[in-house]
Symmetry: C2
Subunit: 396 residues, 2 copies
């Protein structure tokens, strides 16, 4: 018998990164490919202690079914943190606990997107969002990123040509580019979206990981019709899959219905563990450790690129997060570089999967710096530089 | 601004049970409403010990991102158990770990259902499946349950009239009815589905909880084109949200793509905890304890109904699971009974939400026996019997 899949499956593709990661899992490979936080900074002992505590004190409840919205004290913590960190007044009822912010994207797609609805994404854009939204068969409209955030002229133009339902954005240390929206850009985006009646989805998965510069306001400070996505993956642990959606009452009602249909509720033991961890530890102190460590790795990678890469290669200098975005000279393909690099046992993600409309010749690539040690960064970038030089010579 | 939700949101409704549970959460209420396993039988200490072990021995990995398919040793355990318990040869690659079997239903809906595709469900049917499939706007065709399983004459007739993509079934101790398919019925269903080229989705959430009689074969023993759903929720803990889908290679490839888009992967700490628990403990010994305990509760509830309920009331005598299905005389509404019962501080779920096409006068109701103690069952059924008598007198 031939299986007849739903039409939406025609738009899905296997994760390119997933396939790349399979190639690069040998221990001798220095990999800048994954998007992994550094496990050396997971609070393993503190999580073990929190787990022990919640199971000892409230084991029967912790292992039982729970509410779709998520554990109230955890939602209260998140709401309070929005106030402290961003001056945003959020009610705990405006928070829904999800399996990482990835599930937030899926639920938003379910609630909002009809087939053919237009979704504005950044170019290059976050692969996980492209994958999650693709299931709902939208019409993607990528708008390029400039050094200070999305190109607002082109955003306005795109919306004047054909309105959209959602804009998906990562204003802080974007994945894959590392770019951060300037303060002015955030206001401009809010104004444009309000004028065109488009809902903003602001994903702040990396916002806590700032190494330099000042924290900038959420777009929500300037815009009412906005949905925020957050996550403990980058600051506590991704394996626990605890993230959240923050949205106003009318949208939240719909989100809870689809969350319940999707999996009843998020893992309750992990919600309780995260909450206990947050009660017993100073999360800001912990985040500061990660910031310092990642900042050093970023500095080293930038220094190494500046010293060893061919001068024609451009790259972002992110103020936080986990990624640097490299642009090779126009005629050079990053897939060709990837093939050379793998032979030298060094890996990265070619830019291709971050563009919705595949172009065969892409000259960009993503480097992750969070999950390598100093030695790996030094050696890996040297190898990558040699491969780039060789490739450029061949092209010239 | 007015939010414009996707068309699919018109088909969704808040969970009726969820709303009922809110009414009945006062401690003085004896509730047969929820579908909760009895937390008195959660292996709290063993889970605490498993959690300690995996975090101590492999903390950094356990808290890191993991694969979308799920932890291989856990998938191997599940595959092996299919062989031992049901004689089914399953490869670990045919298993995908999900957030409870509920997420399995969502992922199957995503992979298979176009708007308007026909889905056969049992009548009465599992509410969680109705909710999850509804998101994909199918055309439900309910086929009545008889004492020995789905009415195969009507199933065949329905498929001859208009073919379907999926049949969703719970052959063991069905929710809400408690009905179990006979051995012959399983063969007949397989034959009919094969003839019409319909995929079977067999949800076995309760199959391990048999009190009397013999285990019966999975429909997969007679049918190739079948997807199995399983869960540790009823035998270990539902709060951990660990279930699985078992499907052939072609379908599994699609399921992994949508799983990744939905939430990257299931909670990895919990997968590791469940796996450790299964390595260190005899799960069959644990299941036997639950069987004995639930079996006693079932017997008591059946005895009490037989003794106190009006003689015109009919009810199922499930061989396992967590539910008894009660049918009041035709002219009596279970919603009317619910209103009387709540005043007497006893609760259950009226049959309404288990029918796709709402009928105002439903004379059936679901009683859960797993989550009450003996005293509560005795007192609760007496009260319910008094309410039923009063209602019948008024109607006569």
């Amino acid at each position: 018998m031939k299986n007849t899949f739903a039409d939406r499956m025609k738009n899905t593709r296997k994760s390119f990164i997933r396939e790349i990661l399979k190639v690069t899992q040998q221990p001798e490979v220095i990999s800048f490919a994954g998007g992994l936080p550094n496990p050396g900074f997971f609070p393993v002992e503190e999580i073990a202690s929190a787990s022990k505590k919640v199971l000892e004190n409230d084991g029967r409840n912790v292992l039982q079914y729970s509410t779709s919205e998520g554990y109230l004290p955890l939602r209260e913590f998140i709401a309070e943190r929005y106030l402290i960190k961003s001056g945003l007044k959020i009610e705990p009822d405006e928070i829904l606990i999800t399996n990482g912010s990835q599930q937030g994207i899926d639920l938003i797609g379910k609630v909002f997107l009809n087939k053919g609805d237009r979704v504005i994404i950044e170019r290059p854009g976050y692969l996980g969002a492209i994958q999650a939204f693709s299931i709902f068969e939208p019409n993607f409209r990528p708008v390029p990123l400039l050094d200070d955030g999305i190109d607002t002229d082109l955003l306005d133009k795109a919306l004047r040509e054909d309105n959209a339902k959602l804009l998906y954005t990562i204003p802080n240390f974007q994945n894959p580019s590392g770019i951060t929206y300037s303060g002015q850009k955030r206001k401009d985006v809010a104004n444009i979206l309000e004028k065109h009646n488009v809902i903003c989805v602001e994903d702040n998965a990396y916002g806590e990981l700032r190494f330099t510069g000042e924290d900038l306001p959420s777009i929500r400070n300037y815009l009412d019709n906005i949905i925020l996505l957050g996550s403990f993956s980058k600051i506590i642990s991704p394996g626990l899959r605890i993230g959240w959606i923050c949205a106003g009452k009318e949208i939240m009602e719909k989100l809870i219905v689809v969350k319940q249909a999707a999996d009843l509720h998020s893992n309750y033991l992990s919600q309780r563990i995260v909450n206990q961890y947050l009660m017993d530890n100073d999360i800001d102190e912990h985040i500061m450790k990660i910031r310092v460590a990642y900042g050093k790795r970023r500095d080293l990678m930038i220094d190494m690129i500046a010293e060893y890469f061919p001068k024609e290669v451009r790259y972002t200098k992110p103020e936080g997060g986990m990624f640097i975005w490299v642009t090779l000279p126009g005629r050079v393909s990053s897939m060709d570089l990837f093939e050379l690099a793998v032979k030298e046992n060094v890996a990265f993600v070619p830019g291709n999967p971050f563009y919705v409309y595949d172009s065969s010749r892409i000259n960009t690539l993503r480097l992750n710096f969070s999950n390598s040690d100093e030695e790996q960064i030094e050696e890996g970038i040297k190898r990558l530089a040699r491969c780039s030089e060789r490739l450029l010579e061949n092209v010239n």
